[in-house]
């Protein structure tokens, strides 16, 4: 209908008017726009790009979401139970021991689905935190782990052929720090760890096993904790208050930190309802009852209201800080020595030269070492060859000598044989001669006898 078109036109006009008035309050933004010569337009009809957030959201639904929680706290303080309760699932079954020599981190990934939203949830638990006798190095593995996730993302981002939109983001989005319900104050280990983590991750401190602290003690305890954190300059995560719809809630929650929580997956019948609770002889502590503990508030803040903001803060603040420090450490700067902007290319070329030189030097070294080794081996081989040759000669000589000796012996032997046969011959002749003189008659007779026979 014509009237509706006109009506819509007027509505847009007025909308633009109000928007311009409030846009002019965002001074710098507008000025920048004016500088860039951008004008605000009014449209005379419905164009349709208000479906843009829907398009964006649909795309994200298709891809799925990632959320990574790190739980830091002493063994047995109730980390796994709280996570189970938060996500209403039994994730893990076994308890960890108290006798680990140093702090380790255990990460597990789960895929949850609720209506059409798929969430890849990673829970990282500290194992053995606070159990050692000497706790000086306790926080280091945690810091290393967080840094390693940033590093992996940075590596992926710097690759030439990269695929950031299919990358499984493993950076920690929130750290739930479990404080022991002593009722007094923070332990030194807690302070130390939190101070080392606050610039790397969003920290939300929670008071664990809050059913051991009475209501009045709890108030004082919370105040004491917050004042200690503030006086030590620990930056915990503040729920954002810039969006009008949730600012009030968030601001109220900020004043209720740290949340005192109780976790339980056991179900107890209370009245005519079955609730998650812990049953004691003196009563039942209901997990989802706001008079009993702050669990509902924690779940509300963590999941329902601020999950996206946590992810954004991790990416835009903590990750950028890490990236900046890392790149500066490696010698990359945006501004060169004469304060002229240095392009990445120049820095890169310089680095490349450096590394080329380095690499060449190393190559030379290796080559030389190799040549030397080869020479040594050759020398050894020659030695052995010579030795063998010598041995061979020696043996040959021995052999010759043996032979000559044998030849000698043989000659001697032959001479002896000749001499002997000579002697034998002469003795025979002698014998026959003497025989002939006496035995010639005999022989004649012998001959006559013989001839008679013939």
């Amino acid at each position: 209908m014509a009237s509706s078109e006109v009506g819509r036109h007027l509505l847009f006009q007025s909308h633009m008017a109000t928007k311009t008035t409030c846009m002019s309050s965002q001074g710098s933004d507008d000025e920048q726009r004016k500088r860039e010569n951008i004008r605000s337009l009014t449209m005379s009809g419905h164009v349709g790009f208000e479906s843009l957030p829907d398009q964006l959201v649909n795309r994200s639904i298709q891809q799925g979401f990632c959320f990574n929680i790190l739980c830091v706290g002493e063994t047995g303080i109730g980390k796994s139970t709280l996570i189970d309760t938060l996500f209403n699932t039994n994730f893990e079954d076994y308890e960890s021991s108290h006798f680990c020599p140093n702090v380790k981190l255990k990460a597990q990934t789960y895929e949850l689905q609720e209506s059409n939203v798929r969430l890849k949830l990673t829970i990282v638990n500290t194992v053995g935190f606070g159990d050692q006798i000497n706790k000086e190095e306790s926080y280091q593995p945690i810091v290393d782990y967080i840094d390693a996730q940033f590093e992996a993302y940075l590596q992926e981002e710097l690759k030439i052929k990269r695929s950031l939109f299919t990358y499984h983001d493993s950076r920690i989005h929130v750290c739930l720090y479990f404080i022991s319900p002593t009722g007094h104050s923070l332990k030194t280990l807690d302070l130390l760890t939190m101070k080392n983590l606050d610039s790397k991750v969003n920290i939300i401190p929670v008071i664990a096993k809050a059913d051991t602290v009475s209501k009045t003690e709890l108030q004082e305890f919370k105040l004491k904790l917050m004042s200690e954190l503030v006086s030590n300059g620990v930056q915990i995560y503040q729920f954002p208050t810039d969006d009008d719809t949730i600012a009030k809630d968030n601001a109220a929650m900020n004043g209720l930190l740290p949340f005192a929580v109780v976790g339980s997956m056991d179900e107890v019948k209370v009245g005519n309802k079955v609730v998650k609770a812990r049953q004691y002889p003196w009563g039942v502590v209901q997990v989802e009852n706001e008079n009993h503990c702050d669990f509902v508030k924690l779940r509300e803040m963590l999941i329902c209201t601020n999950m996206e903001d946590l992810r954004e803060q991790t990416h835009t603040r903590h990750y950028e800080l890490y990236r900046r420090c890392k790149l500066e450490e490696m010698g990359f700067t945006d501004v060169g020595p004469e304060n002229k902007p240095v392009s990445l290319q120049e820095t890169y070329e310089a680095k490349r030269h450096e590394f080329h030189g380095e690499r060449q030097r190393k190559e030379e070294e290796m080559k030389q070492m190799f040549v030397q080794r080869v020479k040594e081996k050759e020398a050894i081989l020659k030695e052995t060859e010579r030795e063998l040759q010598a041995k061979f000669e020696h043996l040959k000589r021995l052999h010759q000598e043996e032979r000559m000796k044998l030849e000698e012996k043989r000659r001697l032997l032959e001479e002896e044989i000749i001499a002997f046969s000579k002697k034998k011959a002469t003795s025979e002749i002698f014998h026959s001669q003497s025989f002939v003189a006496t035995g010639s008659n005999l022989r004649k007779d012998k001959d006559r006898k013989n001839s008679n026979f013939l």
Binding site: K19, G48, E92, V117
Partner: protein, 358 residues
């Protein structure tokens, strides 16, 4: 704090538990990605709302380029698309003004808002394209401009101290206007599209479609489609980027039946059947721009703005920009693809992202 809200949620959770408790998994969970059955409502799906709020606050950028010979109705079409005086028409020229010697690139930015969604729209006009006697290489200034935008973005991204939100001036969509000759594509058209379909999303559009009858229109479209296919020109939505079957069937339908869109543009309103519509008045009737029987403007508008706007931006960012970046870093460093930008500088990182120390 609204006390009412969490209580209803717990009520919901509890009432879900009481009538129909879902079976608890009997086998202990293995520490690997598994599908867990949730025993009650948690609130994970509120992340959609959170995301939507965030995007509405930050606003969107959209950069659209129009290319075609002068007089094909580019400015009028853009004005019709966004229902406002986005570009000043060149028809107010007088003959004494020189035809630009080379292709000029004019980018004008606007801020428009609808339904709480703020959009910074930039229309990039290319006067002088195809207007000279010798049009060789007239696409080069355009290609240069597109690459310059990628370069600007890359430089920002690679900075040490980066801005929170890098201003996006990359061209998300290029509408190429085809002259409604009724015969086939011109060599200039083919050359342009061949060169630019690799760097930007091209949507071919048949301009001034009111000069063709229905039969002529469908024949022409078929012929154009065939020629584009024969020449290996992939216009948006590109076949190779269809992600799943749903996308593929939807996009196939668009590619094979509707594209290239035959459009008519107008920013004048006339009274037709008691309604005021945008149209062109001729002695033989009024051509309604938004009437699907008359021309396909509504299809183009829905396609570009209502359904595929985000996808246009994503293809530009994830594919065209990444290709440019990879090529740039490759040529620069002479490193084989896949190696880090900083070569041997960063220590090798283990393949799995979480070094579980167990």
């Amino acid at each position: 704090m609204s006390k009412g809200l969490p209580e209803t949620r717990t009520d919901a959770a509890m009432s879900e538990l009481v009538p129909e408790p879902r079976p608890k998994p009997a086998v202990p969970m293995k520490p690997v990605s598994i599908n867990s059955n949730l025993l009650g409502y948690i609130g994970i799906d509120t992340i959609i709302e959170q995301m939507r709020k965030k995007t509405m606050k930050t606003g969107f950028d959209f950069n659209i380029m129009v290319v075609g010979q002068s007089g094909l109705g580019k400015s009028t079409l853009v004005n019709t698309l966004f229902k406002s005086q986005v570009s000043r028409k060149a028809s107010s020229w007088n003959r004494e003004e020189k035809i630009p010697k080379t292709v000029e690139i004019k980018a004008i930015g606007h801020v428009i808002e609808e339904g709480g969604v703020k959009m910074k729209l930039t229309v990039i006009d290319t006067p002088g394209f195809g207007d000279q006697i010798n049009n060789e290489n007239c696409w080069e200034p355009i290609e240069k401009y597109i690459n310059e935008q990628y370069e600007k973005f890359l430089k920002e991204e690679v900075n040490i101290a980066r801005k929170k939100r890098i201003p996006d001036t990359r061209v998300h969509c290029c509408l190429y206007f085809i002259s409604p000759t009724g015969h086939s594509l011109r060599p200039l058209d083919l050359e342009f599209m061949k060169h630019l379909s690799k760097v930007v999303n091209i949507i071919p559009v048949i301009a001034k479609a009111d000069t063709m009858t229905l039969e002529e229109k469908s024949e022409f479209k078929q012929r154009v489609r065939k020629e584009l296919e024969v020449n290996g020109i992939e216009f948006y939505p590109q076949k190779e980027f269809d992600e799943d079957l749903e996308d593929k069937t939807e996009n196939d339908k668009i590619r094979q039946e509707s594209m290239p869109f035959a459009v008519v543009g107008s920013d004048k309103e006339y009274q037709v059947n008691g309604k005021r519509v945008l149209g062109r008045k001729t002695p033989w009737g009024i051509i309604e721009v938004e009437n699907l029987n008359h021309c396909e403007f509504a299809l183009l508008r829905d396609f570009v703005i209502r359904t595929h706007l985000q996808d246009l931006k994503e293809v530009t960012h994830n594919i065209h920009y990444e290709t440019y970046r990879a090529k740039r870093l490759n040529d620069n460093g002479g490193l084989p693809p896949g190696e880090g930008l900083l070569g041997n500088v960063l220590p090798p990182v283990p393949a799995t992202p979480c070094p579980t120390a167990e």
